[in-house]
Amino acid sequence: MELIVQVLVSGLLIGGVYALISIGLNLIFGVVRIINFAHGDFLMVAMYAAFWLHILAGADPYLSALIVLPGLFLFGMLVQRVIVQPIQEASANMQIFATVALSLILQNLALIFWKGDFRTVQMPYAMLTFDVMHIIVSVSRLIAFLVALASILLLFAFLKYTFTGKALRAIVEDNTVARMMGIKVERLYLLAFGLGAAFTGLGGILLIPFSAVYPTVGAPFTLLAFIVVVLGGMGSMGGTFSAGLFIGVVEAFGGTFVSPALKEAIYFGIFILVLLVRPQGIFGKGKGTEEIGLK
């Protein structure tokens, strides 16, 4: 029984980070309507940035967010402007290949510059844990969960109460009408891509105290984020959050009771199951699923 609660807690904690990363993807997907196959690689870039800021400047990974997040925001905007915008009207297949190419470039640039080594940031607080009723909670994972939760709530508030946020939601609903209402759609595409990249980058910052970074660290996260988004319903931020926690828990149980090596196989199983049973997602309505290819 204790083991089950322990696994549940670890799953929920990491699930918060998954939700954060997936919300970044959902934002890009919902607003810009592009499938970003390089999403996980944004995470990798952020993790390397935090790693090097720590090694070269001695910056605490959490503090390095002050530099890394604006950097990723700009990077996301750059990607939108240079790579995505020219092919926005192209066929879905061409769009796939533009972002696949970006992923290939980012991963292999990382390999060229920093080799395939696993690199970790050694922080004194990384190993800290505390005990609540015989359940061991890792401090850095708890921080990751809480920060993820706080930033997700912040994003919700932004989308709900600010004018820009409402404009973003209008684009998610119907970008043609949004354009007719005078919303500067292209500019908000830039914002959405930047925000999506920054959220994913924050995920990387939160992971770095307890995970290693290497060139292909992001690849499974791309897959994971997609599964979370499909599961939660496309365009539905709340659904994405619940689905992120759910995937975290499933992964924790699978890792403990089946085999940690079969993570991807478990993801794939869930993905197929969701697509078979409820392609519109479990939590959300699944707006925009038709045109993107889910039916």
Partner: protein
Amino acid sequence: MNANRLKLLGILLLVATALVPVFAHSRFILHMFTLIFFYIALSSAWNIPVFGGKMSLGHAAFFGLGGYTAAILYVKYAVSPWIGLAAAVLVALIGGAVMTLPLIRLRGPFFTLASIAFAEALRMIAIDWRSMTNGSVGLNIPFRPGFAQLTFQSGMPFFYISLLLAVVVVVIAHKIRYSALGYHLQASASNDEAAQALGVNTKKAHFIAFLWSSGLSGLIGAFYVFFIYVVEPNLIFSLTLFSLQPALNGIIGGIGTIWGPVIGAIVMTPLGEYLRFYLGTIQQGLNYVVYGVVLIVTVNFIPGGIISLIKLKVLKSKGASGSVIKTKEAA
């Protein structure tokens, strides 16, 4: 150039290629040609479902299933590789059916994504299932040269095996494209609802296209394992080598055409090997950065691939006669 002349030119090129080992004895050159032929075959097999607009980035799954089946049967159960080839096709077909049945209704990016997940899941299983696959170490094909063992002292036999394989797959792809199945696929790609309304069972067409594609990929994978004497999960199920690369060849050569993947493989394989061996010793991964850049440039500026440039050139030199385009497209 009319269709007959093109055909003649093609046959002459093929004969000239087949004569390469007579003149070039360098092991390196034979190896390069063999690799190109393998990639022509794999890219053309990948291309078959693309006629219907289904782009997989998980063909390493079938390639690897075929490779592992043949290798396991030979190494662990001493089954002749020639029987193993048949088993490889069978297992790859099963893999193709297992992947396609649930995913067939997905379109565009979701299909592509699910196909990546499928191949990655198989890679994980191959690493995990140590009793059968020997884990991430993989299995070595013992070097016992002989026709029955599908293992050869010289590079020549595999040159011809892979050439034959490439020709067979291209011919099959051509036959499919201009059969009822091919037209059903193209109809589904341009407008699935309309095709269905006209009574085309598009799901069935996609499924059959995938069976052809996966079965052929499995066969190619099985041959490939005997060509390199080893099967290991991170190589044979490699996303970049056997899922992305065939797709890349197809896009860069010209997506959805018969000759696009062929041209793509001929151009990209030597480029990749050059970057890997001549610059790769200094910078591992540079070849993929170049691929990525080429890909982005292709998608942005020549979405029709290299073949569209050739067509344009033929059109210009022939004074814009419509029939040239027609025959070129039919070729």
